[in-house]
Symmetry: C2
Subunit: 458 residues, 2 copies
């Protein structure tokens, strides 16, 4: 049973100067400093447990998310944790439908990132009180209870609560075996660590060769800034990994719709499994146009149909910047993606991700989560392990992104074995950072930033 | 010629306690305090002119937008105004594509509202330096120059710069006559002031009767919270205005897709011209399903098709919370709306609104701007008057929202004559507020708020 009244909510601006090494760089985000708005919830319960929640950011702007968390705080403070999780749908809606705050969203951008940070902390606290890792809390939860955490508003035209219940009921079959399978083999991963856009070829080669030695078989390369560069880099990586291993490409929204089709036609020879974020994350019909062959959905699309990507065997993947379940609903309705990439901090925490996992199951589209950044691997592994055990029951065409950065700052870092995520065993959502790391990287007054900001040229 | 270097950017949190009177209340925003993040730009030019920009908010959360404006300030400060407007597309993209800040958008929610406030101030300053009201600055601007303000990224699949140029070229024909027409007759408006959801029937009746006396012929009523209430209120207002005058309904996103169709079938007898925001502003395919009769666009929609709204003669309108040009592009592609409602502060200022006006023209969908709030009427009149003179060249099915609140706080308030917006004659974008009003309503330390916050019960 959840216990205690939320007696304190604090939030910190934590930044890692990753831009100095080109880590995380892509066609649209050339100088990211991986960062987080980091929420800590305390209760008046005697157990002394705290809930930690993060949302991922890229440096500048973290202070804006911090400000939004503070704007949400009055919905959280003095609330009983039992009441919150007892009507989690109501609480979710309270945060996302505040009559004044929803104007600056709704359910998107800064306020939704802030909502994610707060709710991630609530889930961490709840799981800790239950003494279970989050994935296990979800796996063990009664389906009706699980569904009571989801706000079905705006998605009932494709998924009603009853349909969702049927999906979860079917997911009960073979659940124990799948849990066992996860505990012994883990969830398959792919790596993005080798081929950031800012890395010189030599770095790319070295990291790729190390990754091969470590048993990685699936690789993602960043593309989209310069076609000739892309061809050279893709050639290089395909040569290194050989014809059998899997290669994915990621354009990080660099292209317009016609450009995406043309550009990918040029990169098709390197046989990518998918092209990720070919265009604006808001462009559902654009993704549909890019991904489809056959007859156009809407008039006026014929120029792209002849060259669209399906005949090339390239799928479309997107999701890390899709801002809520309504966008995912439409991407599924329009058959605009072949791989759905949830994000543990962009969507409204576990609650909204559950809705998306269930819709993906209904449409039979594999979920391949976005990870990396700061803590995204730590968090999203819980969701995808739950998905396998209780929802999708399949590993076909499925894998979870992995990036080898910044795990050392977490108290319960991910464990990768044979290129797979091993299920966390510690209670909670793996969101807690080491106090030492938090202190040093607090912006702008942590030790790391004090030094950097004092350095000449800054 | 634009002149001066931006030497100062300041931003204030201005709130009006409108929730106390139920003004502005609707099915989703029950207690709005109409507010604004208010940006002031100063230059080192000798003219002493300042640029004022606002974005509209609903109270709580204004401080988050203020924080986001400050996060954008480094892109603005010390820039030459001539350089900014000389490459306005580049400047727009710099604000919206900051490699770190775009993660917490991109081009949506808080950061985009902040972008709008900053750019609105730039346009105000530019127009003041040119000695023209903004609409006239736009009308007189060379089409190529006008297009150089627009970021065509993500919309070239429906509108290329060349197509946009052809539209503007065609708009040159008869321009002088239309300008004359505007100056004498003004732009037709409709009123939303009579029927906020929070008003008792007696207030509604009184306001409606006054509006009729003042010559209003088009009325909007808020619906969506309770069907029986809606029937009673719609009956009341239709009886008062008679069968010939125009009635619109606004649900402010209250419904899911099937619910919207069912609910409106019940209200059809009151013959609304449109239903506004029937569901989530993100739900392009949902709006398409609601608005369409005939064959379904996508499989699985058949349950709604039989009852969809087109056979009832009810159009779908949306836009005030559509967060960028990519959403509008798709709403047009999917024929999801029959009336397009731009907003002067939700989109990225004049720059992005120009893109939307041009797309709407291409798809031959009438633009009926959203207004009301604080300053929205003042700003958007410039855009729609420009639209008539230089783009649409038509008043068919077109009108601009008007709400009779808070104009007294503006230095250059709107002038309504015979239920029409009369073109502003003062130089600028009509964004400047009275210093006295700003001082009094600053949150939380202005006189008005000091009193309210000290009152018992707060």
């Amino acid at each position: 049973m959840a216990r205690g009244r939320i007696s304190r909510l604090s939030v910190r601006d934590i930044r890692f100067p990753t831009s100095l090494g080109g880590h995380g760089s892509d066609a649209m985000h050339t100088d990211p400093d991986y960062s987080a708005a980091y929420v800590i919830l305390e209760t008046d319960a005697e157990d002394g447990l705290k809930g930690y929640g993060i949302t991922f950011t890229l440096g500048r702007g973290t202070e804006v998310v911090v400000c939004a968390v503070n704007a949400l705080a009055h919905h959280v403070l003095n609330r009983d944790l039992g009441d919150i999780v007892g009507d989690f749908r109501g609480f979710y809606r309270q945060l996302t439908s505040d009559g004044q705050l929803r104007w600056i969203g709704p359910e998107k951008g800064v306020v939704h990132l802030a909502t994610a940070a707060v709710l991630n902390a609530v889930w961490d606290l709840w799981a800790k009180q239950e003494g279970k890792p989050l994935w296990k809390l979800l796996v063990d939860m009664d389906p009706r209870r699980l569904l009571s955490c989801i706000d079905f508003r705006y998605i009932t035209d494709v998924l009603t609560e009853e349909e969702a219940h049927e999906i979860l009921q079917r997911g009960q079959v073979g659940k124990r075996e799948r849990e066992e399978q996860m505990l012994t083999e883990g969830y398959p991963a792919y790596t993005t660590s080798c081929a950031w856009l800012g890395y010189p070829d030599a770095t790319l080669q070295q990291l790729c060769s190390e990754a091969l030695k470590d048993g990685w078989t699936r690789f993602k390369v960043k593309v989209g800034a310069d076609l000739q560069d892309d061809i050279r880099r893709c050639q290089l990586i395909r040569n290194m990994i050989g014809p059998e291993k899997t290669l994915m490409m990621d354009a990080n929204q660099r292209w317009d719709v016609p450009e995406a089709v043309e550009w990918m036609a040029r990169l098709a020879e390197f046989r990518p499994l998918w092209i990720e974020e070919p265009t604006s994350p808001d462009d559902i019909l654009g993704h549909a146009a890019i991904s489809k062959a056959g007859k156009p959905l809407l008039p006026g699309w014929w120029p792209y149909i002849l060259q669209a990507l399906a005949p090339l065997g390239i799928g479309v993947a997107t999701g890390e910047q899709c801002h809520n379940r309504v966008i995912f609903k439409q991407l599924l309705q329009a058959k605009a993606l072949q791989f759905l990439q949830i994000d543990s901090c962009r969507l409204g925490s576990v609650n909204e991700n559950l809705a998306v996992l269930l819709m993906a199951k209904k449409f039979d589209v594999p979920v391949c989560p976005h990870a990396g950044g700061v803590g995204l691997c730590e968090l999203v592994q819980h969701l995808i392990i739950f998905d396998f055990i209780s929802v999708s029951a399949s590993l076909k065409d499925r894998m979870c992104e992995y990036v080898d950065h910044l795990h050392e700052h977490f108290k319960y870092p991910v464990r990768i074995k044979k290129a797979s995520y091993m299920p966390p065993k510690d209670a909670g959502y793996s969101t807690e950072m080491k106090e030492e790391s938090v202190k040093k990287h607090q912006y702008p007054d942590g030790e790391v930033w004090k030094k950097l900001l004092a350095a000449p040229g800054d």
